[in-house]
Symmetry: C2
Subunit: 396 residues, 2 copies
């Protein structure tokens, strides 16, 4: 087991991107097509095992962005979660309700401050994925992220994907080139394994996730999805988006329910609205996949995408999921003739603004200054980039 030994001395860093919904949110619940894309903003998970000389018998988790640190003696974990000793890294399973309870107790012992209690489910997911894949082994795991938490950009999925990847990278279940310098991509079958584990992790955080976020985060690029069927699509253009986080918290379940209630009250109208959204998503996917030739063709494609975004936004307003903060972003970007739409659940959250290839940096700076003066957070990200990647560091 020379390879295992070598791995155990390594540090691995995994990164997985966030996602946006380009078109079709809400309507997708009513059997319309939606399109999601990865964004060039990542969550990073680094993992290493202490050497024997460290004499350290604890599992440590550092969440750098929220300045939280947790640590559990591995004996305590083994005692609390004996059933996870028989897990196989190569066979993802779901976390049983009983195990969730035992894990919750382990998390509770850590006394998370009240203001950050929303992170408890993420910590539970960590304990479960860690123990299921690596067993009762001391380690140090550090998490950092460029993604704002809980704003609909798939931060939890990016966490689950990068964590699962780091854990699997140092397990017997994957076969990697450990001598590779720089970022490395997984093989297809390994990506599938990561995606499955990440989905199981997402379940602990979200209950019934759609699987879209972890799939986009794992594979990158874009996916088209409808009625539970996901299709990876190959983007043929470089898209850049301004992502404005309104910082207005929303209740996704309540928003989804309100659209369903409106659908019950106005079945014919809403069926037509969902059908319009379906057409928009399909057209958008076609444009993104079509080959681009030159600057002119790219500008034309961007204009078409902008029009589709404006139309989708109108239909989302028709569904009643916009919000005053979203309207403020729309108004602000419209002043600069830029097209925007909400992304995700609406009712606050994030707004996308397409930044055309030929748009001057001066304009971008002005828009951002305007939006930040409203108290919003602005992020610029490339769309449809790479998914999960890992990188090996020297032995520590």
């Amino acid at each position: 087991m020379h390879q295992t030994r070598e791995r155990e001395r390594m540090e691995v860093k995994a990164r997985a991107p966030g996602k946006i919904i380009l078109a079709g949110e809400h309507a997708v619940v009513h059997r319309s097509t939606a399109v999601a894309a990865s964004i060039g903003l990542y969550t990073y998970v680094s993992l290493h095992f202490p050497t024997d000389s460290d004499n350290d018998d604890t599992l440590k988790l550092q969440l750098k962005d929220v300045a939280l640190e947790f640590s559990w003696p591995v004996g305590r974990i083994k005692e609390a979660l004996p059933e996870l000793g028989s897990c196989l890294a190569s066979s993802p399973t779901s976390c049983s309700p009983e195990t969730i309870k035992s894990i919750a107790a382990l998390v509770e012992e850590q006394n998370i401050p009240e203001a950050k209690i929303g992170l408890a489910a993420g910590v539970s997911t960590f304990l479960w994925l860690y123990t299921s894949i690596q067993g009762y082994k001391p380690a140090m795991v550090v998490v950092t992220s460029e993604l704002p938490l809980g704003s609909g950009l798939g931060s939890s999925a990016a966490f689950c994907v990068s964590l699962s990847a780091a854990l699997l990278a140092l397990s017997d279940s994957v076969n990697l080139d450990y001598s590779h310098q720089g970022w490395l991509t997984f093989e297809e079958s390994e990506l599938e394994l990561v995606n499955k584990w990440a989905f199981e992790g997402e379940k602990i955080i979200h209950g019934k996730p759609s699987g879209i976020d972890n799939t986009v985060s794992t594979y990158g690029d874009m996916i088209k999805f409808r009625s539970g069927n996901l299709t990876l699509i190959k983007s043929n253009m470089t898209l850049k988006m301004l992502i404005t986080n309104t910082k207005v918290g929303r209740n996704t379940k309540a928003l989804v329910a309100s659209v369903s209630e409106r659908t019950v009250r106005h079945p014919n109208t809403m069926a037509a609205v969902f059908s319009a959204v379906d057409s928009i998503s399909k057209e958008l996917a076609t444009i993104i996949q079509s080959p681009g030739y030159n600057d002119l063709a790219i500008t034309e494609k961007e204009e078409r995408l902008e029009e589709l975004m404006e139309m989708n936004q109108g239909l989302l307003q028709c569904m009643g999921v916009s919000h005053a903060s979203i309207e403020t972003v729309l108004r602000t970007t419209l002043k600069y003739k830029l097209a925007s739409k909400l992304t995700g659940a609406g009712g606050g959250g994030c707004v996308l603004t397409l930044l055309p290839t030929l748009l001057s940096g001066t304009i971008v700076d002005k828009v951002i200054a305007d939006l930040e003066s409203c108290g919003f957070q602005c992020l610029i990200a490339g769309i449809g980039g790479k998914g999960l990647e890992i990188c090996f560091g020297g032995s520590s």
Copy 2:
């Protein structure tokens, strides 16, 4: 001809209401249903003939709101428009292109100030309707209006309807109770005659009017229309709207064309959008026609109408006909939880805000103050009230 003599000594005043589109603008061009309603804001036309002792041989027109006065010697009119001598008040005809030219020359002689040149077509319509119905007869016609001009509230139709009605009321073609005190309604067949003349007048102003504005102004209440078919509908509820005039001028033809172009680019999406609007118009008509029982039922109906207005507005945004000024009105009224939608062509123009029955006057005052502080003009009007009415004054 005792009756004729009596009429000639009378003063008649006619009033005709403006209109709003409650649902379906733009989509109606693409075969969707739309609903229009009369509003309790009127254009008034008063007419009287000078007595023989006045020794006045001129036709005078006073447009009070714009402080303009015109006068033509009747001999000059007869000389310029000899072909109108054979017109019958009972048989509306279209104004020929040649006659329009001769009339334009008569209007030009009046030297309308450059800033008010937009009123020239209305003055042409006046000369044509007057001469066609009353011939070459001296008279004094005074026009006042509660409707802002050119803002999509049907001011030109209200002018044509009230003018045609006043002219017909003092002609042999209608049979009225001249001794009636107060406002009087025309008989069905007389309304039809007024409506036809008004439509011919509208053609001079608008080229190819839909006939909706003059029909609503003539008959009052509400009409449902689709593919050129108009159906009068009987409203069963009292509706009050705040009408906000953004004062942003728009180019209706260009807006209609832009929706058509978008329809060519995205046929499937737009077909679904128009179908959604069609459902909204039909549902709105059904609610308005359904019997209301008590305050609770009225509140429920109002909430349903508000939701339909919000949905229609989203679909109009999807068509791309909203405007920053419209969005400002929407935002402002939303602060007070009031639902709004643009009415008419969009791109500026007027915005409707439903004022629920149980809404306090204090809130209404606050909303209006907010909107006026943005430079908008606010009008409050009952919806679906009476159409054309006339009133006889004493002999002058």
